[in-house]
Amino acid sequence: MALAVVEETKVQNQFDEINRKLDAIAVEIEQQRRFRLALEDLKDDLTLVSKAAFPEVSRMAAEMERKGYLRLAGQMGGIADAMVSSHSSEDLEQARASIPQLIGFLRQLTRPPVLEALEVIVNGFGEVQSSAQPDVSLRTLIGEMNSPEARRGWGILIRFLRVIGTRKARM
C-alpha cells in the first residue's frame, strides 16, 4: 500500500514536471509570436513611412544632383584619400589641432573692415593690370610717386609694415 502511494506520488511529480515544462514552452511560443507580430508591424509602418517620404526624398535628390552636391559627395572619398596618402598622421593631427586657430583667422578675415580692405586690394590690382603702361620713364615714375593717390598708398603701406613689425616683435 505504502509502495503504491510512493509510486503514485512519483508519477504525480513527473506529471507536474511535464506540465511545468509545457507551460514554459507555451510561454516561449507566445513570446516568439508576439515578437514576430512586432516585426511584421514594423515592416508595415516602415513601408508606410517610406511610401510617404519617397516623393520628397526623390525631389531633394534631384535638386542635390542639379546643384552638384552629389558629385561633390562622390569626390569626398577621393579628397580624403589624397589627404591621408599624402600626409602623415602627425600632419593630420597638427592640422586638427590648428582648427581653432584657423577658425579664429577666418573670423578675423571675414570682419567687414578686413573684407573691405581685401576688396580694395583685389579691385585695385585688377585696375592696375588693365590700365598700367608697361614702359614708364623714371621721371614719370617719380612724378607719379608724388601724386596724392600714390602718397596715400605709401602711407597705408608704411603703416601696414609698422604694424607687422610691431606684432612680430611682440611674438
Binding site: 510561454v27 513570446q31 508591424d41 514594423l42 509602418d45 516602415l46 513611412v49 517620404a53
Partner: protein, 413 residues
C-alpha cells in the same frame, strides 16, 4: 496573496499591467485586468480613417496580445465599485475583492448629451471620428461627398486629444485639394474655446495655420442643440450655423460605472491628486489616463507619462513607503497639418507649448511648433511605438517630466 485590479485594458491600464508585473513581487501580488471588450483600439489612428490612410483593420488588435502573460484578463462589464468594501461588482452579479484598484476606464464620446445630435441622421449627415464606427462611416460619406459646408463642432471641453479637431480640418483641406474640389468646400471650426487651442502661443500658431488654409473659425460657441432637419447648429444665444456635413466632437465623459459608484464628478471623471495620481477619496485607489479629472490633456502620451509616475508610487504604496513621484502634467503630441507635414508640441501643467527642438536641444530631430515632414513621419511611426513599446511598458528615452532643454522661449505667464 494580495490582489490588484486594473479597471480598463486600454492605453493606461495595459501599460500599468506591463510595468507592475515587472515591478511587484509575483509571489505576493496577483494582477487582474477587467475590460468589457476583447479589442484594443489605436485611437490616434481614427483620425486617418476618414481620409483613407488607415482602415479599421489598421487600428485594432486583440487586447490579450498586449497584456503580460502573468496578468489575468477578465472580459466583463463592471456594474460598480464598492470602494468602502474594496470590491468590484460585475454585471453578471459576481464580486471581485481587491487590495488595491487602478482605474483606467478612459473617456468616451456621448452624443446623447446634446439635444438633436443622436438621431436618425447620426452617421448619415452627422458624424464623429472618435469611434471606429464613426470614422468608418465618415470615410464612406467623404468618398462620395460633392462638397459644401463641412463644419467641425466641438461641443464642450474637455475632449480627448484637443488638437484632433484641428488635425481633422488640416487633413480635410489637403484631402479636398487632392480631389480637386477644395474650392467647393467651406471648412469651418466651431469651438467653445476662445481660439484654436487651449494655450496662447500654440493658439496663435495653429490659428495662423487655419487662416492660411482658408479654414474659418467661430470661437466661444456654446452649442445648445443640433437641428437635423434644417441642418444647422443652434447656440445658447440662438446663433445659427448651417452645415451640409457635420463632424461632431460630442461631450466626452468618463465611464458610467464611475457614476454608478459615486466616484466621479458631473462628467464621470474621478477627482485625482494631480501629482501622486491617488484618488482623492480612497487611498488604495489610483487613477490614470482620461479617467482622471486632471487639467492635463486627455491623450495617450499623458497616460504614458502618468504610468511611469504611478508605477513608482504604486510600488511605494505596496511597500508602505511614502509616494514621492510627482506627475507634472507632461503631454506630448504630434499634430498632423496636412500635405504630408506635421507639428510637435510638448508641454505640462505650467509651461505651454513652446518652439524649439525635441528631444535633443538644438539637434531634435523633431522641431517643436514648426511644420515639417519629419514630424509627419514621426506620427506615422508612432503607431508601432504605441503597440510595441508604450503598451508593453518599455522605457523610452523621453523622461516622464517635461524638460525645458531645447525650448527657445521662457515660461508662459
Amino acid at each position: 496573496m494580495r490582489r490588484l485590479i486594473i479597471l480598463g485594458g486600454g492605453t493606461g491600464g495595459t501599460m500599468m499591467a506591463n510595468k507592475l508585473v515587472k515591478a511587484l513581487d509575483p509571489g505576493f501580488w496577483r494582477i487582474t485586468v477587467i475590460d468589457s471588450s476583447k479589442t484594443h483600439y489605436y485611437q490616434p489612428g481614427f483620425l486617418f480613417m476618414p481620409f483613407g490612410l488607415y482602415t479599421a483593420r489598421d487600428v485594432m488588435k486583440p487586447r490579450r496580445d498586449f497584456l503580460p502573460l502573468e496578468a489575468e484578463l477578465l472580459i466583463a462589464e463592471v456594474d460598480r465599485i464598492e470602494a468602502e468594501h474594496n470590491r468590484v461588482l460585475l454585471k453578471d452579479g459576481s464580486a471581485l475583492p481587491y487590495d488595491a484598484l487602478i482605474i483606467a476606464t478612459g473617456a468616451r464620446i456621448r452624443p446623447d448629451q446634446t439635444d438633436g445630435l443622436l438621431d436618425d441622421e447620426w452617421h448619415k449627415s452627422k458624424f464623429d471620428f472618435y469611434t471606429v464606427e464613426g470614422a468608418a462611416a465618415l470615410r464612406t460619406a467623404l468618398q462620395s461627398w460633392p462638397g459644401g459646408r463641412l463644419v467641425v463642432s466641438v461641443v464642450e471641453m474637455p475632449i480627448k486629444c484637443p488638437v484632433a479637431p484641428l488635425e481633422f480640418l488640416f487633413l480635410a483641406d489637403s484631402y479636398f485639394m487632392e480631389l480637386g474640389i477644395r474650392d467647393k468646400v467651406y471648412l469651418h471650426l466651431v469651438t467653445p474655446l476662445p481660439g484654436a487651442f487651449t494655450k496662447p502661443i500654440a493658439t496663435a500658431v495653429l490659428g495662423d495655420f487655419l487662416a492660411k488654409r482658408n479654414i474659418n473659425i467661430t470661437p466661444e460657441f456654446g452649442l445648445a442643440r443640433v437641428d437635423s432637419e434644417q441642418k444647422k447648429l443652434v447656440g445658447w444665444d440662438e446663433t445659427e450655423i448651417p452645415y451640409d456635413l457635420l463632424v461632431s466632437i460630442p461631450t466626452n465623459m468618463g465611464d458610467e460605472a464611475i457614476a454608478r459608484s459615486g466616484l466621479g464628478d458631473e462628467l464621470n471623471f474621478i477627482p485625482t491628486d494631480r501629482h501622486s495620481l491617488q484618488s482623492k477619496a480612497f487611498p488604495n485607489i489610483f487613477v490614470l489616463g482620461d479617467a482622471t479629472n486632471l487639467p492635463a490633456s486627455k491623450a495617450g502620451s499623458v497616460a504614458h507619462f502618468q504610468a511611469e509616475i504611478l508605477t513608482e508610487n504604486f510600488v511605494a504604496f505596496a511597500e508602505g513607503r511614502p509616494m514621492l513621484a510627482s506627475f507634472d502634467g507632461h503631454a506630448n503630441c504630434f499634430i498632423e497639418s496636412g500635405n504630408g507635414k506635421g507639428l510637435l508640441i510638448d508641454f505640462n501643467y505650467d509651461t505651454e507649448p513652446l518652439p524649439g527642438a525635441f528631444p535633443l536641444p538644438g539637434v531634435g530631430p523633431f522641431p517643436l511648433l514648426d511644420e515639417t515632414r519629419l514630424n509627419h513621419y514621426g506620427k506615422l511611426m508612432f503607431r508601432w511605438i504605441y503597440w510595441h513599446v508604450l503598451l508593453r511598458g518599455q522605457e523610452l528615452p523621453i523622461g516622464a517630466h517635461m524638460s525645458m532643454a531645447g525650448k527657445t522661449a521662457g515660461k508662459a505667464a
